[in-house]
């Protein structure tokens, strides 16, 4: 890969991260990725006339005699394409800042002795690997101090400046700068796997290095590898914290459910609600249930058949903490519950705003949202939760990020509850011939449409966009393969099977955008 990664010349951003320039005030930073080849301690104006391109010019003595001398030095630096001018504070003036900007010359103000600064810089520039080693050590120290994933990524991004870094889990960015994962023409990506317990790949650190600075790749890789351990530690800590909290919240919600008299295990049947009082432990969690509640059910786009992974719960919690701190988020069964509480009947405006906030996250992580009606008190909340869940299942048809409001769903909600997968398995047994046929999908689609149209071939052909004769011949072939729907006693069952197969075979909505 890179033959001499550690001896590549330093850039301005790198110098700014170590002492002594780390203490300097950047009055104007034209281009932080400017290479720095040399340091010049300019005591006289004579010296300014001989600086070479890509120099750091440190002004001193006569050359730092006042506002005019800085103006003259900036001009000389501009003429000779220096990288940056470093000036003692005494010679700084506000008009010089304007001039630096106008000439596009980086200008740093120091309070330290310019001679010391120049000497230190000279050492750093002549041995970039040393400067980088110092940096790596400093960076490792800072990384170790971090106790959160965001903190770790923050250190990496500050350290690497114009090289964005992100942490991804299963391809989605969970922390850091999303620019890192974007494929860009003149950038190369550096990737480092992060393994969790049992060497199971857990996440990946991705950095996007601009090609002109690609010889930094080795250095970037070093830093990313250094970040692995602090990341895992932060993650474990967070998981410990959050799994406790998730369990606590889940228990609390179960208590609410009981208060709302909903049988905890029955997920489908609407129940009788009577008045119930909110409790102090729910408010300890920051939950508010008095007044009117409107619930959101967040579900993975595909029925996972079990609880979603705890990482996803963690991710949602993080999103909520950041964007919707007032809204609870509780893992429940195959999804998550959140709700919005208001003192009196709402029009749904606040909910729409909340939904707008959630949608990008939902889209990124292949989730759908269902919104329940607004009802009073704890029983009202429970009712809204059930409604939201129904709506969420319907939303799956719309693809990732789609949102369905219960008001718009009606009886169609019932279909959303069908265990499509299990019914499809039944089809394998009852309709083995059909399932073996290569054109099964078009046959099932045609029969389903005919049934949806109440048996009308012409309506079905119009809806499918094929000729009536085609419909006719497909129906005939389906019957041959066992899909005989003429018998009224079997028609409902076959209609359901066709619906389930159709739903299953339809491309999962993950890639379909709204």
């Amino acid at each position: 890969m890179r033959n001499r990664p550690s001896t590549a010349s330093l850039d301005l951003a790198e110098l700014l991260r170590v002492e002594p320039l780390a203490r300097a005030e950047a009055v104007h930073l034209a281009d932080p990725s400017r290479r720095v080849h040399q340091v010049v301690l300019a005591e006289t104006f004579e010296r300014l006339g001989h600086i070479v391109p890509h120099s750091v010019v440190v002004l001193h003595a006569e050359a730092a005699a006042g506002g005019w001398s800085l103006a003259a030095a900036l001009h000389a630096a501009w003429e000779r394409n220096a990288s940056v001018v470093v000036v003692p504070r005494a010679a700084m003036s506000s008009s010089s800042a304007v001039l630096a900007e106008r000439l596009g010359i980086a200008l740093l103000v120091i309070d330290d002795d310019p001679v010391d600064v120049a000497l230190t810089l000279a050492g750093q520039i002549s041995a970039p690997q040393c400067a980088r080693a110092v940096r790596v050590a400093l960076c490792a120290e800072r990384l170790a101090e971090q106790s959160s994933i965001r903190g770790v990524l923050g250190v990496l991004n500050t350290e690497l400046g114009h090289v964005p870094v992100a942490l991804t889990i299963g391809g989605s960015v969970v922390a850091g700068r999303a620019a890192a994962v974007r494929e860009r023409a003149d950038h190369e990506q550096v990737r480092v796997q992060v393994h969790g317990a049992g060497e199971r790949p857990w996440a990946e650190l991705v950095a996007s290095v601009p090609t002109p600075a690609a010889d930094l790749g080795g250095h970037v890789g070093t830093l990313l590898r250094l970040a692995r351990l602090p990341l895992l530690a932060a993650w474990a800590q967070a998981r410990m914290d959050t799994s406790t909290q998730v369990a606590q919240e889940r228990a609390a919600f179960e208590m609410l459910r009981r208060l709302g008299s909903e049988p905890a295990t029955d997920r489908a049947v609407p129940v009788q609600y009577d008045g119930a009082e909110s409790t102090s432990w729910s408010s300890e969690l920051g939950w508010r249930v008095e007044g009117v509640n409107r619930a959101v059910w967040i579900a993975p786009i595909q029925d996972p058949g079990s609880e979603p992974p705890p990482e996803l719960t963690q991710l949602l919690r993080a999103t909520w903490q950041r964007h919707l701190p007032d809204w609870p988020i509780v893992a429940d069964d195959d999804g998550w519950i959140s709700w919005q509480n208001s003192a009196d009947a709402d029009s749904g405006t606040a909910m729409r705003r909340g939904i707008t906030t959630m949608t990008p996250t939902a889209r990124t992580h292949a989730l759908v949202l269902g919104v329940g009606g607004a009802h009073a008190g704890i029983p009202g909340l429970m009712r809204s939760v059930v409604e939201a869940r129904l709506a969420a299942y319907v939303a799956r048809e719309g693809g990732a990020g789609s949102v369905t409001w219960f008001d718009q769903v009606g009886a169609q909600a019932a279909l959303a509850w069908l265990p499509v997968g299990k019914i499809a398995q039944v089809a394998d047994f009852c309709l083995a011939d059909l399932m073996a046929a290569r054109d099964r999908s078009s046959l099932v689609e045609t029969v389903l449409t005919v049934l949806d149209c109440g048996g009308s071939l012409s309506q079905a052909s119009a809806r499918l966009g094929v000729h009536r004769n085609t419909v006719l011949s497909r129906v005939a072939r389906a019957k041959e393969l066992g899909l005989v729907f003429d018998d009224p006693s079997r028609r409902l069952a076959l209609h359901v099977v066709c619906y389930a197969l159709g739903a299953l075979w339809r491309t999962p909505g993950a890639e379909r955008s709204q």
Binding site: A65, G66, W68, A72, H75, S95, L99
Partner: protein, 367 residues
């Protein structure tokens, strides 16, 4: 007392005084008009009473005629507030005559600019001697040994200062540079300004040592300045007569004080004026001030420097903007005029060039 002289001279009459005043201000546009009324009225009155003053070139006088330079040393503001009683200059000359046991047959301005260009005229009228059409600076420099006479090897001493307090100080020194240092503290005690009689020498000395025609040109420039023509026409005319050039036009955006280290030998602390160019290349001008404008930087590049004479013309008023009344927001033209050629010699630049003001850059006219 009257001196015969060879060749035709001119004379200055009361009617020339307003033009002389304006021209003198142009060649040292530092101080405002606070003393104008008193001085102009005094001079006009003198010339009306005593008749015109004869203006002669040094080579029009016999070479053995003793001459003495006169100037106002100290602050123009102090003189404005405490104008002369009227006898300071004459008595300074008389005291120097007494010290040197000789009579002076002519007076000349040490610096033919600012109020220092006017007072030798008053003294000439009072003493009834001719005024020489020559001076030692061609503008004003900060120190009394910054003269063409010094460059030619003449000494300012012995010299006499007389203040508005009625007190007189005589100084005899060997090293020219010491004279100014000894003078300054005395001037502060004398009320902030004083009449200075110095560089006693002969007309023959001045033929080679003084800058010629520097008094008569003031009247010519002053006549231009007195015509109300608007800034653009004025600048064009001044360029034609004085060789000045406009560097740029801009708005004053900042006044900085103590903007560079100062030493105590030169009066007035360093300050800077920052001007944002209007039109043109939109440059940022930086004017370095030390009593006069001593350097102009355009985007950091040295565009003009002492001994160039830099002055500002207030665009809205079509008149010179003096350095004691600049305000942020004023729109000005920056004009640069070359000084007399001797100031661009190596010795001249060492004495009054940018390096003497702590700006060790090559002079733009020498690059």
């Amino acid at each position: 007392m009257s001196i015969g002289y060879v060749g035709s001279g001119k004379s200055i009459t009361a009617a020339d005084i307003p033009a002389l005043y304006e021209g003198a201000k142009f060649y040292s546009p530092a101080v405002g008009d606070a003393s104008k009324a008193s001085l102009v009225s005094w001079l006009m009155d003198l010339l009306e009473r005593n008749g015109p003053v004869v203006l002669v070139r040094p080579d029009a006088l016999p070479p053995q005629v003793h001459c003495v330079s006169l100037c106002v040393i100290g602050s123009g503001a102090a003189l404005a507030d405490l104008p002369p009683s009227g006898d300071e200059f004459v008595l300074a000359v008389r005291e120097l005559e007494h010290v040197m046991h000789r009579r002076f047959g002519a007076v000349y301005p040490l610096a033919a600019a600012t109020i220092s260009a006017l007072v030798p005229l008053a003294a000439a009228s009072q003493l009834d001697v001719p005024l020489l059409d020559a001076d030692g600076m061609g503008r004003t420099f900060a120190l009394i040994h910054h003269t063409s006479m010094s460059l030619a090897g003449l000494s300012p001493a012995p010299l006499v200062v007389r203040g508005p307090t009625g007190e007189t100080v005589t100084i005899e020194v060997r090293a020219s540079a010491r004279a100014d240092t000894l003078l300054r503290s005395n001037v502060d005690t004398l009320g902030g300004w004083a009449a200075l009689a110095s560089y006693p020498c002969t007309a023959g000395d001045l033929r080679r040592a003084a800058l010629p025609s520097t008094v008569s040109r003031l009247i010519n420039v002053g006549r231009l300045l007195l015509e109300p023509v608007g800034a653009d026409v004025l600048v064009t005319r001044l360029a034609a007569v004085t060789g000045c050039q406009r560097i740029g036009r801009g708005r004053i955006v900042e006044l900085e004080h103590l903007s560079r280290p100062s030493d105590v030998t030169i009066p007035a602390h360093p300050s800077s004026v920052v001007i944002d160019e209007i039109g043109g290349q939109g440059r940022l001008f930086r004017l370095e001030l030390r009593s006069e404008i001593v350097a102009v930087f355009a985007d950091g590049a040295l565009a003009a420097a002492a001994p160039d004479l830099v002055c500002l013309v207030d665009i809205l008023r079509g008149e010179l903007a003096t350095l004691d009344s600049l305000e942020p927001g004023d729109v000005v033209d920056v004009l640069v005029m070359p000084a007399d050629a001797i100031w661009y010699s190596a010795e001249g630049l060492a004495m009054v060039g940018p390096t003497s003001h702590g700006i060790p850059l090559d002079h733009p006219r020498r690059r």
